[in-house]
Amino acid sequence: MKERFTVGMARNIFYGGGVFFFLVFVGLSFGTVRDLPKRDNSQNLTPQVAMGKKVWEENNCIGCHSLLGEGAYFAPELGNVYLRRGPDFIKSWIQSQPTEVAGRRQMPQFNLSEAELDAVVAFLKYTSGIDTANWPPNIEG
């Protein structure tokens, strides 16, 4: 095997295989981007939702929470929090932080304006409308 199978052949498998499967992946990705509108709830992507996403990002919410299962695992999943808790609870929860209960995990006070709070709620509502193939397994996230 050592004589028959040369370094050159191994190298060709690497370059050939790498390029081939990258192209396959790019092709699959094109297909996905084309089909996304069926699942991604983009029809409800309003300017307010976009603003909410920015508030979400600029306060680093993903540093504690997960969103559709991605992020940190220190605080609850928020992809479906709109369905679990509803809009009013979300707003008043964010406003009343931190709880300052001794020994409990604390969420900072972000001093969001009324418009920013509404935008975050709109963003989480939009997120809860994304078709995630029935994930998470139950409402607890």
């Binding site: 199978f5 295989g17 991604d40 504690c64 997960s66 299962g69 991605e70 605080a75 995990r105 604390q106």
Partner: protein, 458 residues
Amino acid sequence: MTYTSQSVARLYFIAALGLFAGQILFGLIMGMQYLVGDFLFPLVPFNVARMVHTNLLIVWLLFGFMGAAYYLVPEESEQELHSPFLAKLLFWVFLVAGALTVVGYLSVPYATLAKITGNSLLPTMGREFLEQPTLTKLGIVVVALGFLYNIGMTILKGRKTAITLVLFVGLLGLALFFLFSFYNPDNLVKDKFFWWWVVHLWVEGVWELILGAILAFILIKVTGVDREVIEKWLYLIIAVTLITGIVGTGHHYYWIGTPEHWQWIGSIFSGLEPIPFFMLMVFAFNMVNKRRRQHPNEVASLWAVGTAVMAFLGAGVWGFLHTLSPVNFYTHGTQITAAHGHLAFYGAYVMVVLAIISYAMPILRGRTANGPRAQGLERRGFWMMAIAMIVITLALTGAGVMQVWLQRMGATPLGFMQTQDELRVFYWLREGAGLLFFVGLLAYFGSFLVKDEARVAV
């Protein structure tokens, strides 16, 4: 040291190890916050600690990769580095940019950092692992370009080996895929879809080429096995890496609003991803068994073989554990992911950087290998850190299994925070193991300070 310009690697290695220590400190803080929720609050909220922990990891591994490249490319190319001055300049640019970013994380609220760095002009912040201000991201691109130019010119001028070519392809891919971090659409599904083009195609794609190239270099040096044999293995391993790993990105596309055929594609291809890690392990053991000489730096061989074993466990076994979509449906976004993340990053990337440092640092300090006392201490550091990381992984796996059971299965699932209260014993175990890791790290650092007779002859 064969070429004087290799000495720039020393700067990079020292910075890498310093930042590594910082990463572990913040890991310990977070581990404590899992147990005592308001620990250091509001001084260091969890999200800030996590950002510092993960970003320091990425930055110090990049320092390690760059140091490795500056060390091994001149030797492989039989050529002085194209521009040692550029290498030193970029070192300081990267270090200062990195330090300023971390100071920013720690000193002002993240929203303020976003404002003063002009995130509105090109919003890229606030996504996991890509939290750096857009300005820092641009700095990373500039450093990467200068680095690739320097390394590329050196390779072009000299002998071209499989190791330098594979390393260069890996580094080039690293730079190219990072560009997707500048794409942040309002559409969350699209954002997440292309976020993985940075994160997955880095750690389960091009970084593995860098890992393979560095490991192959070390094995050639410490075993004296024919380059021919090692190069063949290297190409085969990374070929299988890319064949399985690129389309394997699909295992992140199960539940984020992407079409459901990804459940099949992702499961099949990522189910094969352990194979290259298994090959890497067979390769490392084989080469060490076939060694033609006993290199005096024995602990470097230990790191090299250890990398292959721990990478197989962390990336291969723990990855496979939750990669099939019917399993992942329950485990997605739980402590299982954290368990896998810790062992995979430690086994594959932390250890390969420590392996090249273990091999190269004595040479950069003017000796073939450290003396027996220094190597003994380094060996103790190796084992303490390895065992600690395995215990951390087992503890988080236990926490994850229980979390899935309590929160996601059964007729009366508990809420997230209630579930967390039930996992405390695992989190204590993790924090204890984290302290052992830190002691191991101190022992490892101590091995650099031991003064005993260096072994010179090969």
